[in-house]
Symmetry: C2
Subunit: 231 residues, 2 copies
């Protein structure tokens, strides 16, 4: 952390070897190297460094006590550059959301058409939960940051709307109903995401002890059985 942050004379943007910040293994992109050009790789790295710096600083003092200027300094970019990658501090902290959305899309696409719509969605959402659990420490940190930061929570909830939309679309497609006239796909998608959200909240509240995927599965089972049998 005690690195020479802001006085690199000629910033030559060769960060492949001169990485001054120990990037946690969770952060290395799966689609590394070969396929992407240097420009793209540098962009990915910068994005990751900003996200990384944001989380690190937020974990220290809480996101509301960290300024974009500080984040930019820690990530060794100009404040102006920060806003080229993220629209806000909140977005930088939740930078992995697009990956999660992509994972959901892939899983939904990969489930055979023969599989029931709800089963496919269930599998997909458990997949996402599993992915979250794979980054347990990072997730736990973020969940706890959300607990006492309404803005961050709001942004996260809003992002969950993306998951909902995608699930609703998948349900509509697999059942053949029209999203425009029938709200059931959205209702089920909302319920499923609620199940995940509540499970995550509880998981976070208990300090990440327990199996997140199992908790999500339990929540889904309860909703499957109908509200009146849930309690």
């Amino acid at each position: 952390m005690a690195c020479l942050l802001s006085h690199c004379a000629t910033r030559t943007r060769i960060r492949g070897t001169l990485c001054h910040m120990p990037v946690p293994s969770e952060f290395v992109s799966p689609t590394s190297a070969t396929t992407l050009g240097l420009r793209e790789r540098n962009k990915l790295r910068t994005r990751q460094e900003i996200a990384d710096a944001t989380l690190r600083l937020a974990a220290e003092k809480g996101l509301e006590h960290v300024t974009v200027e500080q984040i930019a300094a820690a990530a060794d970019v100009a404040p102006r550059t920060f806003f080229r990658y993220f629209d806000s501090k909140e977005d930088a902290l939740l930078a992995d959301h697009p990956e999660r959305l992509e994972l959901l899309r892939e899983t939904l696409k990969s489930r055979p058409p023969s599989e029931g719509p709800l089963t496919a969605v269930r599998t997909a959402i458990l997949d996402v939960a599993g992915d979250l659990e794979d980054h347990r420490d990072l997730m736990l940190c973020k969940v706890q940051l959300m607990e006492n930061n309404p803005t961050l929570r709001g942004r996260s909830l809003e992002m969950m709307g993306d998951l909902e939309r995608m699930i609703a679309e998948a349900l509509a497609e697999r059942t053949g109903v029209d999203l425009e006239t029938d709200f059931r796909p959205f209702l089920i998608a909302g319920a499923v995401c609620t199940a995940m959200r509540v499970a995550i909240d509880r998981w976070g509240a208990t300090g990440g002890t327990g199996d997140l995927t199992a908790m999500v599965a339990d929540a889904l089972d309860l909703l499957d059985g109908g509200l009146d049998h849930s309690i």
Copy 2:
């Protein structure tokens, strides 16, 4: 609307009789007059004027194209005063949230203990839906503003968390389960709020045609039956 907004020379803040803006009937507080002192009544009126101005301007150009300065001018207060009443434009637009929360609390409290927990919650949430429908035009406007304003939507989602918490507490109390160790109250509360939210979204998407309360009831029925029977 075509009132003398910003050039009142000596603003003497006696707004009881000299109200320069026709306050829509929806805005008049039920607890008017006698019980409250002049100071309190003035505060309520100012709050309402700010909320009113916010909605009116937002309806014209979209909330993101309205500045706090403009809202303050339209409500005939100083920008500094705006922030004494609301933390943000979004909050000013969603100013009626506390009333809704209070309505939910009252209804939940008024349901007899003999009533099943889910029935009580259902009644309460339908009550809220009915209240929303009573302000049909205002609600429709807000719902449509939310459609293309992520920040506003996020804030609204976050506020819905208040409803969820209250419902979860009521459920926990009526069933005797512990909120700290059992996530079922939160799960059901989340599902119920999701039902309302999805119904509102659809209601808004169809331009407010249709019976909102009935749509919420339908959504609740579907969830009652269990996810696998929903579609």
